[in-house]
Amino acid sequence: MFVTNIIKEFYDCISGKRVLVLVHSDLDAICSGKILQALFRADHILYTLCPVLTLSDLLTAVKSHKEQISSIILINCGGTLDLVEFLELPPHIKVFLADTHRPLHVCNIYSDDQIRILGQLDDDEEVPAFGDVFRDDETSESEEEDEDGVSRISESRLEKQRERRLWEQKRNKLLFDYSQFSYFAGSTATLMFELAWKLSKDTSDLLWLAIVSLSGEQLCSIREQHKLALCAADLNTHVARLHHTNHTDTTEPAADTITFQKDVQLSLYRHWSLVESMRHSPLTATSLKLWTHKGEKKMFELLAELGLPLTECRQLFCGMDVKLRSELPTLLEGKADKYGLGGLVTPSFSRSHVFHSRCSASDFAHAALALLEPPSTDGLSMSHAFLDASDCLNGSTVFAKGIASARKQLEAVYRQMQTFLDMNQVISAGPFLYATVLQGSPLAAFMSGPHVLGALGRFTLGAHVSASRNKKARSLPLVLTTPDSSQPQDWCLVCGIPPLADTSHRNFFGKAFEQAVSKTQSRAQLEFFDSHVIRLHVEDRSKFFDALISLLS
Amino acid sequence: MKMADITDDILSASDDDESQVVTAAEVLLKIESLWRTERLSPTLECHQSELVDCMLDQITQMNNNLRRCKKTDLRLAIHRMELERVRYVVASYLRCRLLKIERFTHYLLEKHGELDDPSLALLSPQELDYAKSYAQSIESHFNKLVLRHITHEKLAEFDAKKMSVVPNMNGYVFLKVLKDSPGVLISDQVGENADEEVDLVAGDQHLMMYSSIQELLKSGHVELI
């Protein structure tokens, strides 16, 4: 069931008890978890928090803790499963679910009380009606027994069976339509921040977490642009409100300010040189085709036209002329359209502390995402990476480490994308394109998780489309495979990226992979909550792909 | 102190002559001051185990009372926090004393033995027991491994006088004057007969040798800061 009063039906229910919080290993979930932790700290609510990445992580965590706990909070995991059945939940355990993964399983939505879903459905989301998917079979059967005449019974029974078959067909169709596409709803961190606000415990630190999470969604482009823009505007009203109440005295500079203003959308440019940052940002790289000589020349042209000396652009941004730095957004905005760089300068959040240089929310998102999926050569466990990413959001030394890893990751993604294009490794399979990261390549170590795979996939697809003469390219999705870091000999990860032309950000690969696997009996693990990524045994790759092609044709 | 909010219990701590009535809040204030002094003084100060025992007793009682409260009551958290703080002060105070007792064991045992007045005793009965056991364990250890292997009778002795570690009474301490104390003698350490007399005025702060103000500290004319 959906919770309508989040304080009464959620927060009040858990106060005074110890709760288990299971947090999916993604940026939004981490931010949400941190907001919850801050609330729990303030209200002395004892908790245990564990990260989960896969379905089996979730199952193990619940199994090992369920003896000692009566409330479980799931953040960004589990919403797409029938939780009561999957987790074998005893009736005394209540689950509070806050998940951006869609579609939510109908059993969770129509659970009486045991599963409580925080948040609401978007206006454009539709859920099959209760009567269309659930049917009280027992009562109908008992009715049958009350009947007398034999012939009438069989007649009515036939009638009923026929009706039932129809109903089931309709039901299956409804459910298939409902679950065909996987997509993401609004950020959980925003939901949690609103909870904090309702509890009058909203601070700029918590707001910043919600902002970083939103910025992460933008980077991963998992939602429609206009929805993100609306969310940003919402958060900006909170910024204004918090600053207004905190700083009545305007003469003194605020120690900690969040601003929402026009900024250049270049990856990590505050911690890099302008040239490098442009090269590694998907927007500039794909529009200018920076992996070609011509593209590079074009970039220098652009910089020259802006009046930025190349020597300045090649050194770290913080070393650039102060005047150039402050004028950069205006300069770039003026020329963006001429070079086909629409959207290069858009309003975005940044934060400045006294004695610290300004950081944008996307810097934090980049850093945390990179720490979340460290190169497999580092040998860190998922939970360790989770804690690193979580610490990185507090600023401090871990943040610096995160920025360094983010740069390395962006470089690896860029080089891999360039390899794909240079070697013509993006191949058309008919209904979709595919590309494979070769086993043994030093870059393979970096492609270790769903986020980075998504980033690589979108970058590759964008570059491919911009380089390809084929008009159809924009409407083709991409399937990316990469050796799985834990057992690169035997297993690979397969990731599906929707076509560029599709702006709804709905991904049909989850369902398609599932069907292809079951059709071919491939050895595969559909373990991720992000269902468009699966683990597949390498020997079954070709038959899996054949099935996928025939499915999607 | 907030202890007073928690309980209005009035308890008695026996002073040397007459039985005085003290509130828990006053006891806490006293212990905090003892704690400060103990941490700043180069030597061991007189023990006050009655106060400590009384405070510990209070903690236990309060904990029992709090156990009956509702878990989400805000007051509960505040009271418990206060108790934890008190427990920390007591523990830190006793730890600090143990450290000194272990370092200056033989010296303190000797000093303790010299004092007749039980109200000025350096060591509490438990501390005395601790110090004796510690001294004995070290002596017997020395004996087992070294001393009994030495034939020279005199050399084979554990010479407490020579070996005991003595606190540095000439160490300097910061102090604040609580009551006017005229004519405090500052003896000259170099031995050039340049002794000095100073008048300490209430409210003043000084840096002085511990030995010159030890008596004033005992009588409560000054406090260490």
């Binding site: 932790q37 090992s64 939970s383 | 934890e84 143990l98 438990q126 020395f142 030495i150 034939t151």
Partner: protein
């Protein structure tokens, strides 16, 4: 030079890392004791001849200084080793890690056991026999409840009133400070900001 063997024990202590205990150097202790014995025998002999030869006095003095020095070095060696054991009792508890135990001699093990029980007896006797654990509460408490991270798979841990928490590696918990202190000291939990 006289006293060098005994002095080497002190050097050994000085060179060993702070907080570690080198193996008990029985050889050097024995050799220093032998030197003491031989110096003493010579002095006894010389004293007996003192009446005949006044010039022996200087040698007796010199040897005596060496005797005292040897004794001081030996006892300081023992004492400082005990001091390190003492620190271990307070930081690691009454059970010594095996790599420390192997470096101790029998009397040192006995001493540790005795010291350990002296400390325990004292702590139990506090507050009219209610007891007070002095090995915790090392820092002024700031919060009743603290956030901790679990650094190893520890298993189940019982809080007050029978509540049980499962401590698994890399999980984060919010628990009463009072109950976590020992596990933090033992390195099972890490207190985070």
């Amino acid at each position: 030079m006289l006293g060098d063997k005994a002095f080497s024990l002190i050097q050994e202590l000085d060179r060993s890392q702070h907080g570690t205990l080198p193996p008990f150097n029985e050889d050097a202790v024995r050799q220093a004791l032998e030197e003491i014995d031989s110096l003493f025998q010579q002095n006894v002999a010389d004293i007996n001849h003192l009446a005949e030869d006044d010039a022996l006095v200087a040698g007796i003095h010199l040897r005596h200084a060496a005797l005292e020095r040897n004794k001081r070095c030996l006892l300081a060696y023992l004492y400082n080793r005990l001091e390190r054991l003492r620190t271990m009792r307070w930081q690691l508890g009454s059970v010594l890690p095996s790599d420390v135990r192997t470096n101790l001699c029998e009397p040192e093990l006995e001493w540790f056991a005795q010291y350990s029980s002296t400390v325990a007896r004292y702590m139990r006797s506090l507050g009219d026999g209610q007891g007070l654990d002095l090995t915790v509460d090392l820092k002024p408490p700031k919060n009743l409840y603290i956030e901790v991270r679990c650094l190893q798979d520890y298993g189940e841990f019982e809080l007050e009133e029978g509540e049980v928490v499962l401590l698994s590696k890399d999980s984060t918990h919010f628990l009463p400070m009072e109950h976590c202190q020992h596990l933090i000291r033992q390195g099972v939990l890490q207190h985070v900001k």
